[in-house]
């Protein structure tokens, strides 16, 4: 098994990855205009204010769109195909890219409720994945 690309952490994203490592999905909230954003930035993408703070998200959302990958983008992903990439719309508003776990491709539909699963891949990196809301843990 070859190593998959791990996210290179920087100052903008350190708190985000630390949050995931302890089981929290953090979203940035702007204290000036109330904007909630993905991805992590040093300023608010709406008002450019610097008073952005991390708050834990619910980890719940819906499948906004999906695509099941059958041809791996590189050797690192070959043993995983087919896997379903999802664009999740979080209940807090922003969308994020992830993959579904425990979901046979033919059962995936737009609009399905999903919840976060914390997938620890290294001491520093825990990837935010999603599963059908209410589905039982099988792994």
């Amino acid at each position: 098994m070859t190593a998959r690309p791990l996210p290179p952490i920087d100052d903008d994203t350190r708190a985000y990855w630390a949050g995931l490592a302890r089981g929290e999905l953090l979203l940035q909230h702007c204290r000036d205009c109330g904007h909630v954003q993905v991805y992590q930035r040093a300023l608010c993408g709406r008002c450019l204010g610097a008073r952005v703070e991390h708050r834990p998200a619910s980890g719940r959302g819906r499948v906004y769109s999906f695509s099941t990958v059958h041809r791996a983008p590189s050797a690192e992903f070959k043993e995983d195909v087919p896997y379903t990439v999802v664009l999740v719309e979080l209940v807090e508003g922003p969308r994020m890219i992830s993959t579904l776990v425990d979901a046979p491709p033919e059962t995936v539909r737009i609009g399905q409720a999903v919840e976060i699963v914390y997938d620890r891949v290294s001491p520093e990196i825990t990837l935010p994945r999603f599963r059908r809301a209410g589905a039982s843990m099988t792994s």
Binding site: I9, F66, P73, T99, G111, L127
Partner: protein, 390 residues
């Protein structure tokens, strides 16, 4: 409104052989296409004082426009290496037209070439993966370049009822067009059933829903409308241009089924002073079949959500409302990376000159070219016309 409408014309076009062209460098594809375009224009390289090109994926030149100039033995006073991913084609023509109109240059070569097929090593394939996806928020999840576009198509199908068969029809029609274009990479007819039976890549896209990987290059020569009248070919005038850059990440897009193409095309139509209904023929960036369906809507050729039925009724081929990609597009003619969108522009010039042989759309006077990239992050539209449209 300030405008370059009618001030600049395309007076020469050139295309290298496309498909699998081993042994040739990205510089060669640029230079050979330029040599052919200068010959088509009937001018010497000494008349060129500007050059715009895009970076090569394979060759390591960061200043590609400067490297191409040196290869050609010219020393231009305007140079731009432009990269807005797939939108680079129409955006480059617009930038060159603006430079000419503003007096930065008189005669500009806009070229693009690469050897994506022959030059693509495993290391470069990995580089493509890493560079095209956000390393923290996307790459860890194993997205293909195609997956971003696939997400938009999947949502379009859910919102508007677009079907896999309608997507496949785009590939079938484009292939029929390629059969009339000498030198096209793909030369065998296909059916809807063939498309649906081809291997799934990233749902809803099968192999035949996806653009090719090719070697090839294309070039255009642009000059002032005043000078253009003395050239040997009928000038094709730049009537309008518009661009739109809506987001970098697909997850930051406000909508994934209505794109910046609606904005870029509205700006291009406004500058040109024409409506979509007046366009006779179009070159639409066809990286994927569903992309074309969404663009037909955003460019105003049909209503939002009606792109699928529009394609199904034959509107995008000869005798239909708006024949598109008469050269076979990136689905069937060639797609060498950033050069892919330039062949659409070369083809539209040929259509407006009446030189498209058995591909000719009778009486074509107004053409549109639309280029896009990065999962609809970037969009650029240009409107071209014959002298009669000025």
């Amino acid at each position: 409104m300030r405008s370059y409408r009618g001030q600049v014309a395309i007076v020469g076009v050139g295309e290298t052989p496309v498909g699998k062209v081993p042994g040739r460098s990205a510089l060669w594809f640029n230079a050979e296409a330029t040599r052919l375009a200068l010959a088509d224009a009937g001018i010497d390289k000494s008349q060129v004082d500007g050059l715009v090109t895009a970076p090569s994926f394979v060759a390591p030149f960061a200043r590609m426009s400067v490297a191409v100039s040196e290869y050609l033995g010219i020393q231009p006073t305007f140079s731009n290496t432009l990269n807005v991913s797939g939108a680079t084609a129409a955006a480059s023509v617009s930038v060159a037209a603006a430079a000419i109109h503003a007096g930065l240059a008189d005669t500009v070569v806009v070229c693009c070439g690469d050897n994506m097929l022959s030059g693509l090593t495993r290391d470069l394939a990995v580089k493509a993966l890493v560079e095209s996806r956000d390393p923290q928020y996307e790459a860890p999840f194993g997205l293909l370049v195609a997956t971003t576009f696939a997400l938009t198509a999947q949502r379009h199908m859910a919102e508007y009822g677009t079907t896999p068969e309608q997507l496949a029809r785009v590939a079938v029609i484009t292939r029929e067009h390629a059969l009339r274009k000498p030198g096209a990479q793909m030369t065998a007819p296909i059916t809807v059933a063939d498309v649906l039976a081809s291997k799934l890549v990233t749902t809803p896209y099968h192999m035949l829903d996806c653009a090719l990987v090719s070697d090839g290059g294309a070039a255009l020569v642009l000059t002032t409308a005043e000078r253009a009248r003395d050239y040997r070919r009928a000038p094709v005038y730049l009537l309008g241009g518009g661009e739109s850059y809506t987001q970098e990440h697909i997850f930051c897009a406000e909508s994934i089924t209505t794109t910046g193409a609606a904005v870029s095309s509205r700006r291009a139509y406004a500058m040109a002073g024409v409506d979509p209904g007046a366009i006779d023929v179009a070159g639409i960036y066809d990286c994927f079949t569903g992309t074309v369906i969404m663009m037909l809507e955003d460019l105003g050729f049909c209503k939002k959500g009606e792109g699928g039925p529009f394609v199904e009724t034959g509107a995008i081929t000869y005798g239909g409302r708006i024949p598109i990609n008469t050269h076979g597009g990136m689905l069937s003619y060639a797609h060498p990376g950033l050069p892919g969108g330039f062949f659409h522009i070369v083809e539209m010039v040929r259509q407006l000159r009446g030189e498209a042989a058995e591909r000719q759309v009778a009486g074509a006077e107004l053409a549109l070219c639309h280029s896009l990239g990065g999962g609809f992050a970037t969009n650029a539209t240009i409107v071209l016309g014959t002298e009669a449209t000025l």
